[in-house]
């Protein structure tokens, strides 16, 4: 009901007077009050961390095939062995290969007599970190054998490692897509807000139109029309551009309405009266107010784009192997038969859920924080 109430006790506790708190500080205080937003922040940081250090964190490189462990499930990490002896160093049970007497296929069986201890910073397959630094250090690995935390796919590739690499690609698609959307939205919304009048009207109609048609079929059709012979980099770029078209409308609206409102707002007038130059007005007053709303919209657009990319790739219309995204990984789990044999192929789906959840939590916190004086 009443507005200034919420922010004030925080101000008091840190012994500050409201006029000394900058817009950003107020927003941070408000954001911190939102526990879920903090949880979301932590989840996001973990995801970003594993995306950045994907090569180091994965025990294998994603193209590597383990012929001794084809299409087999997650390997549990243990501290107690089958006789209940405690091991300070965690281990996995070793696996040996047998032939299935019926199908004659090779299958991996657990061998509880032999343990493969987990070691850290072990040497393994060589790779180039970010394509630059050549090394063969992996964060962890099983001495004398292998460890597949999330199991392997039908070619024997490590699902855990592939998920980490896919995190990098998926988040980067989101990031690039959001950047495109941001630029597009800022330019179009800026034009609408700056010129106003008939141009504004036309642009608003366009946005309303885009939002009133079912977008997914349209994006599906657009990506299906991409030439088949394109390289995966070209496809990657094209897909991100297509996805950016999903996100820009919100941003454009925000930019426009804020631009229109800010021009009129009291504090601009007040700042101008007190003799601030235009640049100072923009930097000190308009930008923080503006950015906070833009950030909120970005946190809304990001998961939308993530979900859309995943859906496209899952249907085989987005990114394709050898590029790896969460959607590409799930492509392998497309039919009931493969998921009933290898349910662990759905694990990359958890990454999507966690990522979108995290963004939504952070987005909600941001929304509250963007208006530090609101309810």
């Amino acid at each position: 009901m009443t507005s200034p109430v919420l922010a004030i006790p925080k101000l008091k506790k840190s012994n500050r007077r409201p006029e000394m708190a900058t817009q950003w500080q107020l927003m941070w205080w408000k954001f911190k009050k939102h526990h879920m937003a903090l949880v979301g922040m932590i989840m996001l940081s973990l995801l970003v961390f594993s995306a950045v250090f994907a090569e180091i964190l994965s025990p294998e490189i994603p193209t590597e095939r383990n012929n001794k462990y084809l299409a087999s499930g997650p390997m549990g990490i243990h501290f107690f062995d089958s006789e209940w002896n405690f091991h300070l160093r965690p281990f996995v049970y070793s696996r040996s290969t047998k032939r299935d007497p019926v199908t004659l296929r090779k299958i991996a069986v657990v061998d509880e007599t032999k343990l493969w201890p987990i070691e850290f910073f072990v040497t393994g397959s060589p790779y180039k970190f970010w394509g630059l630094v050549e090394t063969d250090i992996h964060f962890f690995g099983a001495k004398g054998g292998f460890v597949h935390l999330f199991g392997t796919d039908s070619l024997g590739r490590d699902v855990f490692s592939r998920s980490l690499y896919a995190t990098r690609i998926s988040l980067s698609v989101g990031l690039v897509g959001v950047t495109f959307a941001f630029i597009l939205g800022a330019i179009i919304g800026g034009i609408a807000g700056y010129f106003g009048g008939i141009i504004d009207n036309l642009i608003m109609r366009l946005i309303e139109f885009i939002r009133s048609i079912p977008t997914l079929p349209l994006w599906l059709a657009l990506s299906a029309a991409l030439p088949r012979e394109w390289s995966s980099l070209q496809v990657y770029l094209a897909i991100t551009v297509i996805l950016a078209m999903i996100g820009w409308t919100h941003l454009a609206r925000t930019v426009r309405s804020k631009l229109l409102a800010l021009r009129e707002e009291d504090f601009t007038v007040a700042a101008r009266l007190s003799g601030c130059t235009d640049m100072r007005i923009i930097l000190r007053h308009l930008l923080p107010a503006f950015m906070s709303y833009m950030i909120v919209d970005v946190t809304i657009a990001f998961p939308e784009i993530l979900l859309a990319e995943t859906s496209l790739s899952f249907l085989g219309l987005g990114l394709r192997e050898p590029a790896e995204s969460w959607g590409v990984l799930l492509f392998a789990a497309q039919n009931v038969r493969s998921i009933s044999h290898m349910p662990w192929l759905l694990i990359p789906g958890l990454f999507i859920i966690v990522a979108v959840l995290a963004f939504n939590f952070v987005g909600d916190g941001m929304r509250d924080a963007a208006d530090p004086y609101s309810k």
Binding site: L216, A221, A224
Partner: protein, 330 residues
């Protein structure tokens, strides 16, 4: 009010026109035209076609005309004769191919929409009235997860669980004995039995979103002055709630009916594909993968048409329930 209806109607027609242009561009987008792909097939079949024949064919089909003439004849054929072009893949007119499968898509979309509202409205209102209660927290947590799970992933999970618990596939819309049977009450019943899984898949995220909307708009209304004024008149809490805030909160809900429909229609193809439903979803995907563009364009057009009409209907409903709009212009 008449002006409002009229302007919404004009808007609907304009949107349809714009969508048809987009669909047409999609059809034209892949390199080469129908004649080219025909020539290709003949080539592969070992009976190459002469250039002259090819030109003839182009001329007959009007493919040598400038694009706006082609567009004009595409649209007029569609509007006047219901002819949406020819599906190369199916060797049948697009309208027939779509017509076979459209009813199921519509049944799925509308039952999802209906259930979404049926579930979300009471829960949303309850969560608003009992704000910050355990139930409220429970629903909002569930809602977050529901919103974050992509439809197809939910479908995969449900299918996996179905396989594991019931030992049978939960995909499809009919049991085998009804698969190709003619329509009968038994078949309808069988359809309803199967429909709930895709409905859950298609509706979960939307329901979660709707619960949030209902909750937020009810909370908004509960804070309004007129609610206190009505309380000051001595109304009982329940009557008050139903008569004022809930009634008012319905407006934004009805106003966004069109969007919700858009959303459901948007998600339908992917669910159809994952669960291999005999609806338009797989049809659409295959047409895209094979660049059978008249069919694909036709599908995009139909999907859009439903949402546009849905939006128009929700505008009309809004007139019914909101006197402020009804009075506009008087």
């Amino acid at each position: 009010m008449i002006r409002f209806v009229f302007s919404r109607f004009v808007y609907m027609v304009l949107t349809m026109a714009a969508v048809s242009v987009i669909a047409f561009i999609l059809i034209q987008l892949p390199p080469g035209d129908f004649a080219d792909s025909y020539a290709n097939k003949r080539q592969q079949a070992g009976a190459p076609i002469t250039t002259e024949e090819l030109d003839n064919m182009r001329h007959q089909l009007g493919l040598d005309q400038p694009w706006h003439i082609q567009y004009g004849s595409w649209v007029s054929n569609m509007v006047l004769r219901g002819d949406m072009g020819y599906s190369w893949e199916w060797r049948r007119p697009v309208a027939d191919v779509i017509g076979d499968r459209l009813p199921l898509t519509l049944a799925l979309a509308f039952s999802t929409l209906f259930l979404m509202y049926l579930i979300a409205i009471p829960i949303g209102i309850y969560s608003a009235v009992r704000q910050y209660s355990a139930t409220d927290h429970l629903f909002s947590t569930a809602g977050y997860v529901g919103l974050a799970t992509p439809n197809f992933l939910l479908a995969l999970i449900l299918m996996y669980l179905g396989q594991k618990w019931f030992g049978q596939s939960v995909g499809g819309l009919f049991s085998p004995e009804y698969q190709d049977a003619p329509w009968s009450w038994g078949r309808v019943g069988n359809l309803i039995e199967h429909l709930w899984v895709p409905v859950i898949v298609l509706g979960t995220a939307g329901t979660a979103y709707l619960i949030r909307t209902v909750r937020a708009s009810t909370l908004d209304e509960l804070d309004k002055m007129y609610v206190m004024a009505a309380r000051a008149g001595g109304l009982s809490p329940m009557r008050l709630l139903l008569k004022y805030p809930v009634r008012m909160a319905l407006n934004p809900i009805v106003a966004t009916l069109g969007w919700r429909l858009t959303y459901v229609i948007s998600g339908a193809p992917i669910v159809g594909v994952v669960m291999s439903l005999p609806d338009t979803g797989p049809l659409f995907l295959h047409s895209l993968l094979n660049q059978d563009m008249y069919l694909a364009g036709g599908m995009v057009l139909i999907y859009c048409a439903f949402t546009i009409i849905g939006t128009f209907i929700s505008d009309l409903l809004l007139i019914l329930i909101d006197p402020r709009i009804r009075m506009q212009g008087n």
